[in-house]
């Protein structure tokens, strides 16, 4: 266990950034999101939830897959090389780290997605425990301990001191390089902080959500429930929930004309969008009810059915905070809990 004064963190960031790209929560135009550290960046590790999760760093909202050059009617393909340089993610919370395990199930299953896999290999994760969990948090329901997040290095911000503990080989390598800035610490302060955090988590209103009605068996059991029809109507069919979600991984592949060629890129897509499943001769999810159902069934039933019971939700609560119509996964879980099926 090591520690560093909060006021010295800028030196730590500079030291990390000297050798690696450093991604961390940065406040810009009033909102905090993960971004690349620069000397002028306003680092904000106090805000509990970045608007977008840390998903972007491993699965960017938009990324080029390849470029096609067109010369005299012939095509030549220049593939985008997967990331080859190491980077560090600092200040990512327990729920967002767990979300990477969910994304791994998708992108690291056969056939492996080279772009994502390379970023996972190159990235070192320095997570940050949540000192003040919020009302909308329910990570406990999915077995995440926000007092002891996963990661290569785990940190705790206690008062004006950041405590630092390496958990993996990657984490130890990073720690070794930072030893001149870190001083040895004992565990006492962190243990007290963890006890305080866990006490708050116990009091969180959503910590006791029941997932009994969900999991693989729900794929059949909940599909035809009348609850979907009752609930979907306020849904605006926007993509807010999917884009702030750390586990939503649906994507589109699109072309961007560059004049004498085409840039083929992949971008986040949303199952809430009306054209998501539309093709030239038909669409299998024509109503917003079906699209609404798809999102929650995917997270709470289909995904666990295909991934040994793992849910595709980590309880970060961003959709709870951000839905323009105040519709969210918690309300869905509770509706099924209440009414049964």
């Amino acid at each position: 266990m090591y520690k560093i004064k909060k006021e010295n963190l800028t030196a730590l960031y500079a030291a990390i950034a000297a050798e690696n790209d450093l991604f961390l929560p940065i406040k810009a135009a009033g909102q905090t999101n993960f971004g690349l550290w620069t000397e002028n960046a306003e680092v904000d590790i106090d805000t509990l939830k970045t608007v977008k999760s840390g998903k972007d760093i491993f699965f960017p909202q938009s990324e080029t897959l390849y470029k096609v050059r067109r010369e005299e009617g012939k095509f030549a393909i220049d593939g985008e090389a997967p990331r080859q340089t190491p980077f560090v993610v600092f200040g990512i919370r327990g729920c967002d780290v767990r979300a990477l395990a969910v994304l791994d199930k998708v992108f690291l299953s056969d056939p492996i997605d080279s772009y994502y896999a390379a970023r996972r290999q190159m990235g070192t994760i320095v997570s940050l425990a949540c000192g003040k969990p919020a009302t909308s948090c329910f990570c406990k329901v999915f077995g995440v301990d926000c007092a002891e997040p996963e990661g290569d290095v785990v940190t705790w911000l206690v008062g004006d001191t950041l405590y630092w503990k390496a958990k993996t080989k990657k984490g130890e390598q990073l720690t070794e390089k930072m030893t001149s800035l870190l001083e040895k610490a004992d565990e006492a302060a962190v243990e007290a902080e963890q006890a305080a955090i866990r006490a708050i988590v116990e009091k969180l209103p959503y910590s006791k959500l029941s997932l009994d009605k969900w999991g693989a068996a729900a794929a059949d059991a909940n599909f035809d429930s009348p609850i979907w029809e009752q609930m979907y109507k306020p849904c605006l069919a926007c993509g807010t929930c999917t884009f702030v979600c750390p586990t939503c991984q649906c994507y589109d592949i699109k072309d961007y004309s560059t004049g004498n060629g085409v840039q083929r890129y992949r971008c986040w897509d949303s199952c809430m969008y009306s054209d998501f499943t539309m093709m030239a001769h038909g669409n299998n999810r024509t109503s917003q009810m079906q699209r609404f159902r798809q999102r929650f069934m995917h997270k709470l039933a289909y995904f666990p059915a295909n991934n040994q019971g793992m849910f595709s939700c980590v309880g970060c609560g961003r959709c709870v905070d951000k839905c323009p119509s105040h519709l969210n996964i918690v309300k869905v879980i509770k509706a099924f809990e209440k009414e049964g099926v």
Binding site: A28, V51, T135, L236, G239, K254, S270, D275, P324
Partner: protein
């Protein structure tokens, strides 16, 4: 609030309306959702308080396609949106029973700067207090009602409903800011400063389309940005150019029709002050063609769709 529920019950039970469009209780005071109620029994979940900011007028497009009348509760500013939809033949007035509800200014939980908010009292209607008491996981806090109000309420269009079948409840005067002050501040910037301002705001955009989907003026059956037939179908912020195009094209498209209801800014997950684009257009329209408030009536000719020989010719290079 009980008066609204009673009205809804009476009309549902008499069969005069087939459904009621209002707001449904959420988990807390601060997360009510727009909802249709079809039985008297279901009205037990009806709520109307300071957090019912959602403008229900756009839902009336879909409601109008259903059998029977829909009772809808509209706040004064919402009624402008409804009127504008009426002008554009997007809603069926015959199938609406409009109850104009009083409004004391609507609140945004995002404007309450406390962590772990559990319950908020003081936001009730009609008994809204001047101070909100906020119970959090970390203790109890207070904040002035007006400090938690949506931006649009500080520049409220007024207490009058422009369309209704009946009125229930009083409204409060919430204006304490100049509607065009922020637009003027930006107008006074140098081109470089303006560019920097909009770039910093719009680079936050995640293209979730919440602003478009909530906008009552965005009622096209198929948006040009969703069409596969054009390059404009862009879900991602592929380039900063793309982001700027989206919001500016949208602002152009709703110019002269935007009532300044402020829903775009209310729903933006990244807190982009999108209303500023629309308000700039409103300010210019007012200056060039005379004062005009979209949705205020059904008869007046809209400045951008009506040619007169006296029309100003906005020149190029006005900056």
């Amino acid at each position: 609030m009980q008066e609204l529920i009673n009205k809804a019950k009476t009309l549902l039970e008499s069969g005069e309306v087939a459904r009621v469009l209002g707001w449904k209780k959420g988990e807390y005071e601060y997360d009510p959702e727009p909802a249709f109620f079809e039985t008297s029994e279901s009205l037990k979940d009806f709520v109307y308080n300071g957090f019912c900011g959602a403008n229900l007028s756009k839902y009336m497009i879909e409601a109008g396609k259903k059998e029977g009348k829909t009772l809808v509760f509209l706040k004064p500013c919402d009624s402008y949106s409804y009127n504008q939809l009426l002008r554009e033949h997007r809603v069926d007035r015959e199938k609406a029973y409009i109850v104009g509800v009083g409004c004391k200014g609507k609140l945004a939980v995002s404007k309450i700067p406390f962590e772990g908010i559990l319950n908020i009292s003081g936001a009730e209607y009609p008994d809204a207090a001047e101070t909100l008491t906020v119970e959090t996981l970390y203790g109890t806090e207070t904040i002035a009602y007006k400090d938690a109000m949506l931006e649009r309420c500080h520049v409220c269009k007024g207490k009058e409903h422009v369309v209704y079948d009946e009125l229930i409840g009083e409204s409060a005067d919430t204006v304490d800011a100049d509607r065009f002050a922020e637009v003027e501040r930006i107008e006074a910037m140098s081109p470089e400063e303006k560019f920097a301002f909009f770039q910093s705001e719009l680079s936050k955009c995640i293209r979730c389309n919440a602003c478009r989907n909530v906008c009552p003026a965005c009622s096209c059956r198929k948006c040009v940005f969703d069409s596969t037939a054009f390059d404009s179908e862009q879900k991602a912020n592929t380039t900063s150019f793309e982001e700027k195009m989206f919001h500016i094209i949208r602002a152009f498209h709703v110019a002269g029709r935007c009532t300044d209801c402020g829903e775009c800014s209310r729903v933006c997950p990244q807190g982009i002050p999108l209303h500023l684009f629309n308000r700039k257009f409103i300010k210019d329209i007012n200056a060039l063609y005379g004062e005009y408030q979209a949705g205020s009536d059904l008869e007046s000719k809209a400045p951008l769709t009506n040619f007169t020989t006296e029309d100003a010719e906005p020149g190029v290079g006005r900056g």
